[in-house]
Symmetry: C2
Subunit: 378 residues, 2 copies
Amino acid sequence: MKFVIQRNRLVDSVQDVMKAISSRAAIPILTGIKIEAKKHGITLTGSDSDISIESYIPSEQDGEINVDQIIEGSIVIDARYFPDIIRKLPENTVEISVSDQLLVTIRSGKAEFNINGLDADEYPLLPEVQTEDSFTMPIDLLKYMISQTVFAVSTMETRPILTGVNMTLKDNRLNFTATDSHRLASRHVPIDANGLEFSNVVVPGKSLNELNKILDDTEELVEISVTANQILFKSKHLNFMSRLLEGNYPETSRLIPTQSKTTLYANTKELIQAIDRASLLAKDERNNVVRLSTINEQLIEIMSHSPEIGHVEEEIPIKAIEGEELNISFSSKYMLDGLRAIHSDEVSIEFTGSMRPFIIRPINGEEVLQLILPVRTY
Amino acid sequence: MKFVIQRNRLVDSVQDVMKAISSRAAIPILTGIKIEAKKHGITLTGSDSDISIESYIPSEQDGEINVDQIIEGSIVIDARYFPDIIRKLPENTVEISVSDQLLVTIRSGKAEFNINGLDADEYPLLPEVQTEDSFTMPIDLLKYMISQTVFAVSTMETRPILTGVNMTLKDNRLNFTATDSHRLASRHVPIDANGLEFSNVVVPGKSLNELNKILDDTEELVEISVTANQILFKSKHLNFMSRLLEGNYPETSRLIPTQSKTTLYANTKELIQAIDRASLLAKDERNNVVRLSTINEQLIEIMSHSPEIGHVEEEIPIKAIEGEELNISFSSKYMLDGLRAIHSDEVSIEFTGSMRPFIIRPINGEEVLQLILPVRTY
């Protein structure tokens, strides 16, 4: 194997595939980056067996030469050293070649590295995911849906299925739902999916977080394919594969109250700032409780109390309150997460009494909801 | 105690004094910030008993009112909460008042915090440091001297005196020296000290690192006072006090070779980059060894070898080599630290054989030297 490549293209691709590589990989060869050279281009692969990322650099693109002097072949290089080496090389081009003894020579300018490679034949084969049952959507919309839901997945392994985001597609509507059983985030978007439908597709939250980091915020399309146990996100030069979680995702729609007793309309930013302040005295994760009380039709009070530290209270003028008076306590963290994920200048919050879950929705019409269970304080 | 203060001034001062506060303070009251209100202004104090920082906010400055409605008094407020509270308050002014029961009320706009304070009388008295035997120097020059030496202090507590920087003042020349016994950094600057002299003043490296962070890079003057066991750095509104290390700093001048067998003149940046690359295969702190060999009068080779990982070599054209041929091995970390602290486009490196310490100096005439002991590799 041999090729000469534009260094900045290689740096970018290495950075992408590194997101899948764990230094504590179960299979030693997965601590490496697989590099495969074909006449048409170079493919880099990183995997931790849950997530696999392939980045492709075409030899020629828009009339520019990215890769030259290609002799086909493949090798696996230790990911602890390769990224820094490539990043710090002196010239704009790099020559990478591999001897019969799997010794990798990396040359740029006067600098020459010789490092021991691993046999690419021992690198696990990635699952075949691409199917004809796929649909496309804009990358920025996918990223938006992820950011509005993924934070609500469970971080506890007691119910593994809740560590993932449930994707469903029905009637050309794509839904993401995440819940840790104390709060729930749900987002719907219309998608042109040509009648494709699925449910109970549960993608690990960690995979979606990595995917969100790796995808640029563009309007270009990503193609999404789902099989029984894998999902593939395919953009221009990137394949991102994740295993799916096994098990049945709970039915969540019945958790969402359909009536409300008190509805509050507020400026999102003012509410976020007041709750953020009130949470300052309640830094302990378990005791992170803030209380909201209606005062009159245009005023609420946010309050928090910590016996050892002190007390904080703040009155906030709001746009309107409809319905019954209310005193309710909740986790300030969940409330802030929910409000921040709404992305609307104004929100409505629908309460059904101080012991029932409440729902935050935007006023801008987007189909997103954040449901939060209150905390019993007396 | 009561006052109303410009919030941004308070935020800046809190940030400064926080640099002295440790959450694991030996005396519980030192986890707090002391606030003292006088008619002429507010003084904030933070201390971990090694370092103490006082920040002063004058009531009036350049015709602008910083602090208003002052009722004199003092209080200690828990530093775990106070900085975030001040930073996140809604308005540009803050009212702070203290009840007879030491309850602190912090008001800004509609937000009100009530937190338990501590009795300022229990806060330890800071040592009286200011003496008439003081000298002044520009802040930017002090920061520069610190940055060129402090990295070379020892991090091992086996010889505590080496964890500090030795300051001496003689014949209107100020010297900073730091060594961990494997390398040594030394910097001299001329100072107008009116004949003041001292030696064996050893300031903990940690104190100088914090001082360097807290001082803005300006040409304004800092006043430096030294007593038997304390040093005070006094700038416009800031007093920074540090204890001195006890013990005798070793005599280091005899360690510095006065003759050389090989002298090399090189571009600093090119040398740094090549050694940085060579160090990539030697990430292990103990094995972080790079070898330099002269090839001819204008070429050296930088090389590193790690049996498990691989081999790297690079030829670097340099300006000149005078004297004998040379093969020498050294810690790439020490070499990079030394070269980076030189701040000169070109450096000279004087060697006295492969087993003797060598010296890096700038070509720009500044009186700084970096001495490094080589590593025996065969």
